[in-house]
């Protein structure tokens, strides 16, 4: 379990990092917190010829309120996000999901940008990012562009980022009024990859009817899965147990085609999708009904 030989660079600025990535093309890998890449290299499953270590690029580490929402630098440690008041107020769904990401030791090192760019279908942050319609800013030596979450995740460990392109900023837009969010997952042990997880965002009008809903599931496909059918079923409806059951059922049977693996059969995953979707929606509705989004 020793990595194959590689060349190592530790730039101090984004521009230096981008220059290195441009120079080495797809032979280079950016190293963020290293919580996935380093084990993969030690197993020799990943054999990048060049590592561009971003840990000295201080400019990429920040959390700030921005246009009513929150912006996070790609190299911000997960632990910092977990403990941030700005996140708790501006992106409570992110705050709620953070403790489910592995263990404190891993969150001390793991970064938000690293997890999103790695795009593991069992990871919490991609699902949360899709649920919140997050905007990703990517830079390369040739320029900068913004990618919306629905376009960012392309499949198993695959994103819209091009070789030479670096994710630099993650922006969570502000939540509309009367919006409630909830995150739930079931894992074998706390901190394991989820067997199934769900991020839910529900917006209600003054009468308590649902005007917008995004339910995003993790560990049930090759990336975060937006349960569109389930979301549609909620539109214009007021909360009832029957409704939530019907929505959960739709998510489990129409929106996902979960895989079987050694930890969970497809049938078990479907059951978890139904149960967790229902439970998450109960919470999200409750929060939308009782509180303003900024003080959840």
């Amino acid at each position: 379990m020793k990595p194959a030989p590689f060349e190592y660079f530790a730039p101090g600025t984004v521009d230096e990092a981008l220059a290195l990535l441009a120079e080495h093309g797809d032979e280079a890998k950016a190293l963020a917190g290293g919580q996935s890449l380093i084990p993969a290299m030690n197993f020799r499953l990943a054999r990048p010829r060049v590592l561009v270590d971003l840990n000295r690029v201080e400019a990429l580490s920040y959390i700030r309120s921005e246009k009513g929402g929150v912006a996070i630098g790609a190299m911000t440690r997960q632990r910092a996000v977990e403990r941030s008041d700005v996140i708790a107020r501006g992106a409570p769904l992110v705050a709620e999901a953070m403790p489910s990401i592995a263990h404190p030791q891993i969150r001390n090192r793991g970064t938000v940008g690293g997890s999103l760019a790695h795009a593991d279908p069992s990871a919490e942050l991609p699902a949360v990012a899709v649920a919140l319609e997050t905007r990703f800013r990517a830079r390369s030596t040739t320029g900068e562009r913004t990618i919306v979450a629905d376009d960012f995740f392309k499949g198993m460990l695959e994103t819209a980022l091009e070789p030479g392109e670096l994710l630099v900023d993650i922006a969570f837009p502000p939540l509309p009024p009367r919006t409630g969010t909830a995150f739930l997952e079931v894992a074998r042990r706390h901190g394991d990859y989820a067997l199934v997880g769900v991020a839910a965002v529900v917006t209600l009008d003054a009468q308590g009817l649902c005007t917008a809903a995004r339910i995003v599931l993790l560990s049930v496909g090759d990336g975060p899965v937006l349960a569109a059918e389930a979301g549609k079923t909620l539109m214009g409806q007021s909360r009832s147990d029957d409704l939530l059951r019907a929505v959960a059922d739709r998510a489990a049977n129409r929106d996902v085609d979960p895989p079987s693996d050694i930890h969970a059969s497809a049938a078990y995953r479907r059951r978890l999708v139904a149960v967790l979707t229902r439970r998450a929606l109960e919470r999200a509705f409750e929060r939308a009904e009782t509180k303003q989004p900024r003080n959840q």
Binding site: R44, R188, I262, A264
Partner: protein, 782 residues
Amino acid sequence: MEPRRQIGERVRRTEDARLLTGHALFVDDVRLDGMLHVAFLRSQYAHARLVRVDATAARRRPGVVAVYTAADLGDYWRPGPLLVPPPPIAGLVFNACTQVPLAKDKLRHVGEPIAMVVAESRYLAEDALDDIVLQAEPLPAVVDLEAALRDGATRVHEHLPSNVAAHAVQRKGDYARAARGAHTVIKRRFLYDRGASAAIENRAVVAQWDPRAEELTVWDTTQAPIPIRNGLAQLLGLLQSQVRVVAPFVGGGFGPKIMMYYPEEVLVPWAAMRLGRPVKWTEDRQENFFATTQERGQIHDAEIALDKRGKILGVRDVFLHDTGAYDPYGLTVPINSQCTLLGPYEVPNYESEFTAVFTNKTIVTPVRGAGRQHGVFVIERLLDFAAKELKIDRVEIRRRNLLRPDQFPFNNEILFQDSAPLTYDSGDYEPALDQALELIDYHRFVREEQPRLRAAGRHVGIGIVCYVEGTGIGPYEGARVTVEPGPGVRVRLATGVGTQGQGHFTSFAQIVAEVLGVEVADVHVITGDTREFHWGTGTFASRGAVVAGSACHAAATRVREKILELASHELNASTADLVLAGGKVHVRGGDPSGGIALGALAVKANPLRGAVRPGTEPGLEATAYFGPDRGSTASGVHAMLVEVDPETAQVEIKRYVVVHDCGRVINPMIVDGQIHGGVAHGIGNAFYEQLVYDEEGQLLNASFMDYLLPTATDVPHIETAHRETRSPLNPLGAKGVGEAGAIPTGALFAQAVEDALSDTGLEICEIPLSPNQLFALIERAR
């Protein structure tokens, strides 16, 4: 000053300061000048014919010093020894096939070593693995136990007529007749799978040949340094005294680090001698999943015959045991299953038949519990089903069948792993059951709490199971106790067993300290270094405290006699009037300050001038040995409360109670720790851990990402109570405890979860019980 009690005290572990501050030596800490590093090329196939291994390119890689294949080993290539010959069971079939150092013509499991690369660094050695060209023809993998026994099945060992590694039948009484006269016969099929030992430290070997001293030193993470020394000496053509094996601190043994003569263990010293440079190999976690022995599955078809009051008339059990690709450890695991099934119960008629099966999987040898779990699971589940059928409370059915104190010693009339008839030395089971009931508040829970919670829609369940554990088997261990001459009090204790975290440094010191009237801190303990002590077998079968502890006691007692003898001359008093306390000998009733300190007495025991009395041995030192007639039988009762979320199949342990009887307790804190660790292992086995092989014999979860160990947050607070029914078989009255906690957990878990889900009517006949599996069972019961 009066002698102070040390045995039975909650003495803090004296080794912990070294361990916690990083000053304890582990094998991987051994760094020597010019040391080379090893990586092994291992089979990716579960089963294949090995056609050719070409290491030419690897040998040319800069930094590579040597590459060895089976062909390069010459005469040194030979299968390993049969470590435990099977007991003399009438009609026994046993086919010994032991592991080979490097695969020659056939690959029999994933991870089997094919070539050894020795290089200037482990990185370079691993780079060179890619250079080795392998030609192999895949064969169908033998994975499923029942398929392995079908006619025409592919054979793991082609010189044998089938994949049968062993077949044994043991009988007591006449089960068929008992069943004919029974009120009820319950039959079920049980599957019990176990996993890896997953010690925190993987295996490691460092070897250094000193050509001037003509001495080989081997640092090895073994549980049995003395047998390894003797075996290596024989293999390498050296005198035993030319080989020193050191098992320093070892980060967990749990069975697989026993005297295995693993390929790596015999190749690293050979390479060090051949190359004239120190050589190190440290197993990485991935290798550990394939190359270190494991336990695995058994399939039991079992039945129990009872009268209408629930008295057991007999048990019949027919089971298959997966022994993996080789069977160097004989039949210890299935025989433990066979014997431990009998439990604390009176089973007048018993018929147990097993077939051990070769498969294309990693070798199976004992892992903490060593097959006992499987037996306990079968009998406890049978009793649960019988209780339901006969409408008897599950505690009551157990109570009616427990052996009574006046039945000991109790001969079960079948052979145990040590080849002696399985005889329980002593036990007092019913009070332990009652204490467990009281601690978990069984009757109130069943009558009040559970109905109330169930009415509120909660799925809560209770479990309570009994078990016995054969421990502390022979042959023997030894110890040497020396009072160090000089000012103050220092006692040295050397014993041959290795230590892997059990607290030997403290509990052995307590025994010696009590006998010699010194403080625990005054006793300097050395274990696991053959230069210090070279007679003995090792740490296994929950025998450290019982066998080595008794040897420490015997050696200390002899030294005590020498102390008193010499002191009686020095103090002009009869030995009967002398008191040994506070590190001094003084005359009873006299002023303790007038006594002689042990260090000063030791100086007098080794005079530089003058005459000594005829027959005098120098020094205050003695070596003694202890070998029990047979093993002592520990016992216990575990109880647990669980809550299950039937929607998600998640299980939460609410309470866990252990009432345990390991005879005389030397250090209650250490025994607590052993039980806590054992229960954690048991919970892992019951709920989290499983080695998942696919039909190609590939292990699908060979990392801690997918092989799930319970962590601190998954193991509940464990409430323990000790009972002390002393063993008559050793001077301490002790019984073993190392494996106890891990043994009944599966059976307990199944009973409690089944109870929590009693509204579904599901039956749990298998372990491990992941949420995925529990979900499937719930669905099936719907």
